[in-house]
Symmetry: C2
Subunit: 179 residues, 2 copies
DNA sequence: TATTGTTATACTCTATAACTATA
DNA sequence: TATAGTTATAGAGTATAACAATA
């Protein structure tokens, strides 16, 4: 342990006798090892990326989880709620309101299944398909904005590393299982 | 490394001959482009890593945000709450309860500042310093668990890419500002 | 008896406004 | 007037338990 990366010389907490802490710049706070902790940087990066995503999808009032659900329904027409729940790590109970919203807004629909009247087959509406077409463009631009900062090579490498972390460190929470 | 990645028995969704679909086993859900979206993978990775972190720090009942606050106080003794707030992207209002908890448990303390009676200088207690020493070991082991999956080189590279993303895509929300 | 979708509920995080006591 | 810390509150996101209908 204690590779103790860059030990910055602690910047004196300059504090004038009156007020005016620092001219007008950034806080002189030393983050220490935090920037070297994967968890900390993952959280910061996730917040940053989600913020860009949110801004891009704001006009359509679609959030990450909703986009993921739409995408998975598009790719797997007829999917059941429990399957979406398991695939995306969303509790069955929490998926209900999300789908209610998508259905109410005319993007997705629940179709009764003749062979199993407990469940519904999920499908996109024409409006939902059209929406996804537009969102796909916004998503591509969003990804490109990321590529613009770390390069497309860096983006691919980032994805590769994230997959490695996910697969090994936390193979997802086995989802929904309750009771 | 993935030691068999213990795949839960996951009762095969045994279902009559009705809707054939796919045989037993894992969910036959196609995630489509989701695994190629940085935002989606960042979220999955963050959840996975935080889960490992949580398990590691569980015995001490310390969560990521609390650990970050303790670290930053250790590195910058005498820091004001507003500075911690700005540095860690935690709203001033939300920092109060967090510090109350750390203070109540004897890990940190608020020391009145003679020159400005509105604010407090934050310091670790001896107990807090001792705790951090122990937590540092757990944190190092936690990072090593990540290195074990993508290699120490991969971990370093991951950190580099995450920094790139954070700096360019979202230089943090300028924090607390309200009103 | 087990599963699907559902409701109700609770707990954590985060966000905003407004208050106090200082400055 | 502006700022530091605080309070209260609201909103997401996520977690569990229990129920009805169905398998």
């Amino acid at each position: 342990m204690s590779k103790t990366a860059n030990v910055r010389p602690k910047r004196a907490v300059r504090r004038p006798d009156a007020s005016a802490g620092i001219d007008r710049g950034v806080a002189p706070v030393d983050l220490g090892v935090l920037p070297d902790l994967v968890g900390y940087m993952l959280r910061r990066a996730q917040l940053a990326v989600f913020q860009d995503f949110w801004r891009a999808f704001e006009a359509h009032d679609i959030r990450p989880a909703q986009y993921a659900v739409l995408l998975i329904i598009e790719r797997n027409p007829g999917l059941r709620q429990s399957q979406v729940s398991a695939a995306l790590n969303i509790k069955r109970a929490n998926l209900v309101a999300l789908l209610d919203s998508l259905e109410r807004r005319g993007f997705a629909k629940r179709v009764p299944v003749a062979t199993d009247r407990r469940s519904y087959a999920l499908h996109l509406t024409d409006g939902g398909a059209a929406l996804l077409k537009k969102l796909g463009e916004l998503s591509a631009a969003h990804e490109q904005r990321i590529s613009a900062t770390i390069g497309e090579t860096g983006r691919k490498e980032l994805l590769r590393l994230l997959h490695g972390v996910v697969q090994a460190v936390g193979p997802s929470t086995t989802d929904d299982d309750e009771s």
